[in-house]
Point group: C3
Chain length 492, copies 3
Amino acid sequence: MLESDGDNNVQPDPVSKRHRLYFFALSALWQIGMVILYAVFTDYSAIAQARAPNAKEAGAEVDSIYPLYQDVHVMIFVGFGFLMTFLYKYGFSAVGYNFLISGFVIQWSILVNGFMDGAWDDFEANCEPLITDTGKAVNATRFCIEIGMESLVAADFNAAAVLITFGAVLGKTNPLQMIVVSILEIPFLALNENIGVIDFQAVDMGGSIFVHTFGAYFGLALSWVISNNKSVENSGNPHNKTTKSSDLFSMIGTIFLWLFWPSFNGALAPADQQYRVIINTVLALSACCVTAFAVDNLLRPHHKFDMVSIQNATLAGGVAVGTTSDLVILPWGAILIGIVAGTVSVLGYIKIQPWLEHFGLDDTCGVHNLHGMPGVIAAIGGSIAAAAAGESAYGESIGDVFGARAGENGIDAAAQARFQLAALASTLIISIGGGIVTGLIIKHPFFVYKGVKKGGGQARNYHICNFCHSSDETTFYDDAYYWEVPPSDGNE
Amino acid sequence: MLESDGDNNVQPDPVSKRHRLYFFALSALWQIGMVILYAVFTDYSAIAQARAPNAKEAGAEVDSIYPLYQDVHVMIFVGFGFLMTFLYKYGFSAVGYNFLISGFVIQWSILVNGFMDGAWDDFEANCEPLITDTGKAVNATRFCIEIGMESLVAADFNAAAVLITFGAVLGKTNPLQMIVVSILEIPFLALNENIGVIDFQAVDMGGSIFVHTFGAYFGLALSWVISNNKSVENSGNPHNKTTKSSDLFSMIGTIFLWLFWPSFNGALAPADQQYRVIINTVLALSACCVTAFAVDNLLRPHHKFDMVSIQNATLAGGVAVGTTSDLVILPWGAILIGIVAGTVSVLGYIKIQPWLEHFGLDDTCGVHNLHGMPGVIAAIGGSIAAAAAGESAYGESIGDVFGARAGENGIDAAAQARFQLAALASTLIISIGGGIVTGLIIKHPFFVYKGVKKGGGQARNYHICNFCHSSDETTFYDDAYYWEVPPSDGNE
Amino acid sequence: MLESDGDNNVQPDPVSKRHRLYFFALSALWQIGMVILYAVFTDYSAIAQARAPNAKEAGAEVDSIYPLYQDVHVMIFVGFGFLMTFLYKYGFSAVGYNFLISGFVIQWSILVNGFMDGAWDDFEANCEPLITDTGKAVNATRFCIEIGMESLVAADFNAAAVLITFGAVLGKTNPLQMIVVSILEIPFLALNENIGVIDFQAVDMGGSIFVHTFGAYFGLALSWVISNNKSVENSGNPHNKTTKSSDLFSMIGTIFLWLFWPSFNGALAPADQQYRVIINTVLALSACCVTAFAVDNLLRPHHKFDMVSIQNATLAGGVAVGTTSDLVILPWGAILIGIVAGTVSVLGYIKIQPWLEHFGLDDTCGVHNLHGMPGVIAAIGGSIAAAAAGESAYGESIGDVFGARAGENGIDAAAQARFQLAALASTLIISIGGGIVTGLIIKHPFFVYKGVKKGGGQARNYHICNFCHSSDETTFYDDAYYWEVPPSDGNE
């Protein structure tokens, strides 16, 4: 039976206590597995080895990439983490699981990315043998995963995708389920990215296709599968709301995401492309911010701003300009993309999301509006920009920007444009497919939180009671089922 | 008639709903205008062109400026944004309008700065002609605005000035009015800066004169004009207060401003000057922080600290050292400036601001204490440092620091000192003049929020009712007139 | 007699008002002393002089160190500052005194570090004479403290140590006492660091020994002395608790500390070592984060997460990997260290801290769990890594990493390992000794807050009443005794 030990803490019965421990078992197991897999398969990248000092080169790489890496790092942990604190009873979970997922995915995706790249390379031996102090090689040249600055940036990008997915199901999953999602989503993502980048030779500097679109549609498919077609009831859950203070905490996330988006789009860009990424992304985001305010003002009841638009739609320009952020889209092109993205995203929150809910598609954070549709806009914009890319804008450097167009045997602009669309198509297919598979797994009763219905006696799956209208009967959007929660005001 | 739909949301009548839409009309119009003006008048700076790859140079500029640019960016959006959340019913507006204004000003001031610089240069043709794929020039060499890292930094500086102005009128203007202020303040600011920097050849590395002093006195003049000489009543408005939580949100802003001030002062400095900027600014701010605590402790009732001093006066050292931050003022000089600034700023909050209110000068955030007086201290300090600058401290490099003193025909130290004061004088004149003009425009009933007085029937200008003593009768310091506001505590 | 002027503000009698002013006297005196001491003893470092322009070198140093310095700066002011806001009635003090202490220590430790280094160097003349405009040297070559980027980073490291100490006594000291602690702790710290780094030639890249271990055990000794063996009552103080909102503010600090820890560990590392620092620290922290969630889930009642573990134990990996962060511990070694640190730290919060309280050792923030034990783990790990360091991992560069092993006369691995342990031993002795001395000084009635017991008439030392069970009778964990405190909710 549920017993309350205060206003916020509900005591679950022994069944649910034991069930909650499954999280420990899975995460501890995986974490110990990391030690073993890293010991066998990884090494520092050549530049970071002490044996063959490359101090100057290492220093140049740190000076150049590290500040942007840290910006991206802030986006992942502060940006996504606080953005999701808007639910007034789910702040600990939002920022806490965001932290957990990211720490988990960073380790896991370095491995998965490494193996996926190895698979595309027939696991070619690439690491130096180890040399003993007596000068003997103890280890033949072997395949290994070399860890450097780029691995860390890529790991943060992968974390972003899983966090976008998390946004779609925020408040409706438990930490055990999110560890399973993290484990399963990364291989799908790495597979899709290698197909898109290596096989289709698509460009996507800011990851709008391979990170944002992927994460969003994976999450939407996942949410659709686990929501049992009852999303309208979810959105009416009495815990699914904000307070003044939770909305302000959320703005901390928004602002840091907005600020550091140029670093996200440009962290791995070569120097002159990076310069364009910065200009294009700042302009697209600025235009998107103003547009989101304007359109929200136009369309909301009483023409009052709604925080959900300001927290999210202001960022859509960063996604929508991502794919083309290093291309010669010119400053006005960046501003135009920002206007389109801001408009579509606000429309998404006001018009499209309520409509999708009637089809059973529940999306707690509205990732479809912030990452899904803007990601598709980015992909289409990338295809158009690729079709238009020619001598006048790029001169000799066209092969630096579009690798497939380099040299005598390079493909032409139309072919590049088609490949861009192929990458979008494969992303939609793999992400939706992967989300459905993952959803079918995590909705298995083993992973679902078990508790008892208030007043009832028997242990049951709370999942079944997702949509109860009484706040006593739902575990959704509520920290108290997995956290010790202090009172709201300290009983002053 | 006003109808309440809960504790926080007041339903305005149709007149005010329609009026609120004017914001949409103006901001959407301006945003679309941006696309057109950018298409006609702007291009990437040469370094960011793909045609003529300058990868190494572009990379060096990004590595060198971008981390400082992002620090400044954080100051603008997180620093100013959260600093202003101290009003307990105005947090959404503070961080929201700060976001809106900055996104708007970044785009607008790149254009205005470009045209103003062009005007000083007789709109000399400076952009390369566009070349088609067939090798023909489709466009003669023409005047255009080249956008690079420095444009982005300058745009953020301009945003800072408008946000300082916003601080003086915080809670007393609506978003429509703030868009008008943003549109009008930037040309005044750019005009004044070109006069000061180009005509007077004044140095002002940290923008204490051209940004802080300008923004503060523009805002004070603006506030004086729109306040109808009733500022004492404003400061007694029942919404003009803080809570524990709003004061903590505000400290997020304070701390980020304090931390990144060396980047603000040094973002555009050449390398060795930048090194001095960092040392001088860190020392001035540290001394100012300790001094603000000490003086506040001395002067407050019961010798208890007041958050308003800690949130603001701790920062005054960054403003006061701005103009001289790259000069050889020596570490002890920087500390002394910090002590003076902290003392003056706390005195400003405790003694000077209440006194100014009796003259009808209302200043919600106390920008006079944080930006106005410290800016004037910086200007005077700059003049003294210029008068003292000679061979012993600067050697050969004096012309690098004070451009006007370079070469055989360079001016002498006394002349430089006079020019510094001339720049201060023109700044005070143009900012106060510009603020008065802008205030007269935005107090026109067209721009003022229209609603109805509670219990009354007729639509009226709320501006007229600014100073009503009942919280039901004022739109001031209250999010609810332009935002959907959730409850404070989620009715747990 | 105590009179209440509202819910939060207690009016102390004239005795306590006067006593509160002692803070002004000491801090103002010290701040003015800074001007004099800096004028006599400091100068810019050679690279920052305007006379001998080294623009290129200065630029390279700024580009390379400044972004990491700013990350460390964020950790000190945002990280530690907000981390300590978890006490629901002590948020202003937490973030405010953190700000004050850091601003104070930055100035003070540049001086103390400079004199301590001078003492190890027999105060050798190292500064250039000043040259007048007529070419005469007005000042013979003299000893001075040269201020550069490294001085600023070291000053922030010293601030970290004092803030860790502050964490152990959070809520139990007044600002006057904390100024005294800041003054006294820095010489002990600088002495210990010079012994460890210069005499013992110990390596400690991330300062786990000289900053974290030192600050923690200094603080624990200090807390033990001032707590009069009544720590169990402290932990039961009715103000010693959190709210949902104070816990979220605290997470802002946690996340920024976690993010920028690689910068803390690597800010002063040479380039290729810096590269390893980044990889090792990110991996250790990621593993520690996942482990802290897992172990907390295992050990807490009902297997629910507790915010105190998530806020703190997730960071222990950064401390524990600090000493070895630049060594060739390999990626799996970093992950293993993270797992050990996360486990020990959570165990510390759940099992060890309650046990220590019975010995009179009260530790408000649990710095023993976050900095103390992980610091000792780091020191032992460093000794093991030093013992294992050989040709195979380091090749020619071993002397770059372990200075004492360079050249023909270098020491061997075993000797280096012993020196590492010697540095730990001296750190424990000096920190605990220094903490006891400092505690005996600040518990003198002169420094203790004076007030009157409610209902009683006589002024008395509140220190004596630390452990009163009624919230009316204690000044502990309560802003109201030194701050004007607004209401919690604005009486909406």
